[in-house]
Amino acid sequence: MAVQGENRPAWIGLTRVVIQRVLSALLTLFLVSIVIFIAASLLPGDAAQEVLGQSATPQQVAALRHEMGLDQPAITRYVDWLVAMLSGDPGRSYIADMEVSDLIGERLRNSLTLAGVTALVSSVLALTIGIVSAINRGSKLDRTLNVVTLSLVAVPEFLIATIFVLIFSVKLVWLPSIAMVSPDASWGDMLRSMALPVLCLTFVVTAQMARLTRAAVADQLDRPYVEMARLKGVPFRRIILFHVLPNAAGPVLNAMALSLSYLMGGAIIIETIFSFPGLASLMVNAVTSRDMPLLQSCAMIFCTAYLVLILIADVVAILANPRLRS
């Protein structure tokens, strides 16, 4: 078995894995779209009622339903949406009466920027904390880092966010309490207005990633090969960077992928507190207004982001670890 694996170039196996994963991802997306559609149909009320609000008469609702095409059977609406989606058209929002792609455009960019900056800051931080505390296991430093990360995992983000706003915005007046990113803002302005949301998200995400990194690295440090390498006189820095880290990459990258996919859709609380115009609040908006085309598109984006991140994590883990390549 091992011999076979070594005879084949690594990329063939890898390509097969990627193709399989992409196919199953498409299936997952399809199933998710059905689930979302059914779940949203089960909610009381529809877009027409939500638009007209409390004050609508039945005639008005019926007229608007017809206008929106909501009087069609559910299956017809779903198939119409699916066919349009496959040809690359996410449809038109019932509520805003705009193309879904226009509504999502800027918000997607905002969400990606927020997630990207946070990912950058938190990965570096988490890897450092995780490795440092794994190396110094049992020391005072490790125990301190443990307590800090554990308490950060336990503190809900709305609390962290509120405390930060009170300190940095209300008392010190250093940073804005709302993260309104306007398209014409300079990079400096944008980073300044995103500072607090990024800080809060970093706290939440870093803690989890650091805990998992520490566990994975510590686990590897206990293996006989590390002891062997040390006995052979390999410098400790080299052992960590070239031996331990590639082996620990699998679980660490998976943890990072999970945390980062959380940054896309799970940032809803942070988006709400800082009025950040991101995708998560748009999706919540779509649910409350029963705006099916918008809701479906948001769900597809989140699901795709999640699947892509997990796929990237797996591919990198395979590349980093020769034993996984077969």
Partner: protein
């Protein structure tokens, strides 16, 4: 009846001078600790709701955010500018009617839309008639049903015939829904005649407007730029004001007012309003249809306690009828109903209602209703009525629960006239006759009062209608809820107008910035 326009130009000129000098002073003084707006007179407003349903179409306006946006971009035929709540001509120069059924509007000459085209009778006719088209999805389609015929009479004259006389028409037309849009635009894009021009509009994110230098009222507006954003979370909204990121916010909970008052650079503005959350007792179901039940519950409500505990004494005690003390035609003769457990017990015994078990549906969608329901539950247990408080989600409340169980809560926004309140919510044929009560005398008075030309007689009729609702209608109205706004003290010229928060949503045209 003839209503003449006020000579606005001279007054406007004077206040314009004042405004300009303020701006000049502002420019000279140095910046203080809190962040000031970057451009002179550029402010940011945060309202409690902003979503993809934000609209530029006045007919579809549904939230304070929408009304505020529409009043910045468009004008109405009439307007209400102060606390007297009297509608005065705006785009109309004069308005005539002999019988209050046939109305003639003479439009101001030379008023231009933001794109340079002139306002004519055609635009007005279009704007009024589009409410009757179901495809418009107008929020006031039911009100617009009374427009029997709207025709242009020359370039600047508009004739409006109603299905019946209505003395309140001018007040009705001053609402944001009836603002005037350009003819032929089924989806208005913000091109109006209003004090600001639209610069950027993204539903659910922001609205940016810039001063309309050619605004037809001289000296207005005084602000250069207004940005409206939504911050749905109340605590975040207050924080944004305290940190100087926004300069005026609306819909503050009474419990946050202390935080704002503690900050020397900020202040609150309490606007009394006729907004109320009402306990609905359906008259077509039992036991709520039993008149003794209704009276027992009405006597169970500790109004001062509700005012104190839920609203920090910032609401107005109500008397189970929808006309607030500061509104026209309020009947002060009706004795105030107070907590009276003996009377409630008597009604429970008379109605054979001892030991009745019933759920009250309360929700965050109806302001304060969960707490009110708990208070009523507590006193109910003392007179032998066992209520359970069913707290249900705000999402979907209006379509799934409201009026669908014997006891639910409603939440009624302020309406500008007694006629509108009564016809929308108390007429026995109204869609939102919440308690399904029927009173022939009331229905008769409602129609008669619309056409009554004698003010004294009208007041008497509305007075009697309030008495009828107070005595017989299946609605308990504990308090009128005041609207609380918070603002940066450098924003001048704000004063409460009891039509809604933010000076009846019209503040942008009137206020100015002073460092």
């Amino acid at each position: 009846m003839t209503v003449e326009a006020l000579p606005l130009s001279r007054r406007g000129f004077v206040s314009g001078l004042a405004g300009a000098s303020m701006l000049a002073i502002g420019a000279c003084s140095g910046g203080s600790g809190r962040r000031a707006p970057s451009t002179r007179g550029a402010i940011r407003v945060a309202t409690q709701l902003s979503s993809t349903s934000d609209t530029l179409d006045p007919a579809k306006g549904a939230t304070a955010t929408d009304y505020t946006r529409h009043f910045m971009l468009y004008n109405g035929l009439t307007t209400i500018e102060d606390e007297s709540l009297v509608a005065t001509p705006s785009l109309a120069l004069s308005i005539d009617s002999d019988d209050r059924r046939n109305w003639y509007f003479d439009l101001r000459r030379g008023i231009r839309f933001h794109d340079g085209s002139e306002l004519t009778s055609e635009d007005v006719v279009f704007s009024l008639l589009r409410h009757k088209d179901p495809a418009t999805g107008s929020k006031v389609a039911t009100v617009a049903e009374q427009f029997e015929e709207v025709t242009a009479d020359g370039k600047y004259g508009v004739r409006l015939r109603l299905t019946g006389p209505n003395a309140d028409l001018l007040t009705v037309l001053s609402q944001s829904h009836f603002l005037i849009v350009q003819a032929g635009k089924a989806d208005p894009d913000g091109t109006g005649t209003g004090p600001f021009r639209l610069s950027d509009f993204q539903p659910g994110v922001r609205t940016v407007v810039l001063r309309n230098a050619e605004y037809w009222i001289e000296g207005r507006p005084k602000l250069e730029r207004v940005e409206v954003i939504g911050i749905p979370d109340e605590v975040s909204r207050v924080n944004a004001l305290l940190s100087g990121d926004v300069h005026i916010i609306n819909a503050i909970s009474p419990h946050s007012t202390r935080r704002i008052e503690a900050e020397p650079s900020c202040a609150i503005m309490v606007s009394p309003s006729s907004l109320y959350s009402d306990l609905i007792m359906r008259q077509d179901e039992l036991p709520t249809g039993n008149p003794h039940f209704v009276l027992a519950v009405k006597n169970l409500i500790d109004r001062p306690l509700i005012n104190r505990a839920i609203y920090r004494n910032m609401s107005t005690i109500a008397n189970d009828q929808p006309i607030a003390p500061f509104q026209k035609y309020f009947n002060a003769e009706i004795p105030q109903r107070m907590l009276d457990l003996d009377k409630a017990r008597w009604h429970v015994r008379q109605g054979g209602l001892q030991g009745v078990r019933l759920p009250i549906y309360a929700t965050a969608a109806a302001n304060g209703s969960v707490d009110m329901a708990s208070i009523i539950q507590e006193y109910g247990s003392q007179v032998g009525l066992n209520f359970a408080v069913n707290r249900v989600p705000a999402d979907g409340y209006w379509s799934t629960h409201w009026m669908k169980h014997p006891m639910t809560f409603g939440d009624t926004n302020p309406r500008p006239t007694a006629d509108l309140i009564f016809s929308l919510f108390y007429d026995s044929k109204a869609d939102w006759n919440e308690s399904a009560w029927k009173n022939e005398r009331f229905d008769k008075l409602l129609v008669e009062a619309r056409g009554a030309t004698d003010e004294g007689l009208r007041a008497e009729m509305y007075g009697e209608m309030q008495q009828l609702v107070h005595d017989k209608c299946g609605l308990a109205i504990p308090v009128f809820i005041s609207l609380i706004d918070g603002y940066d003290k450098r924003l001048k010229g704000l004063r409460p107008i009891p039509l809604g928060g933010l000076m009846g949503y019209r503040f942008a045209e009137h206020v100015w910035w002073e460092d």
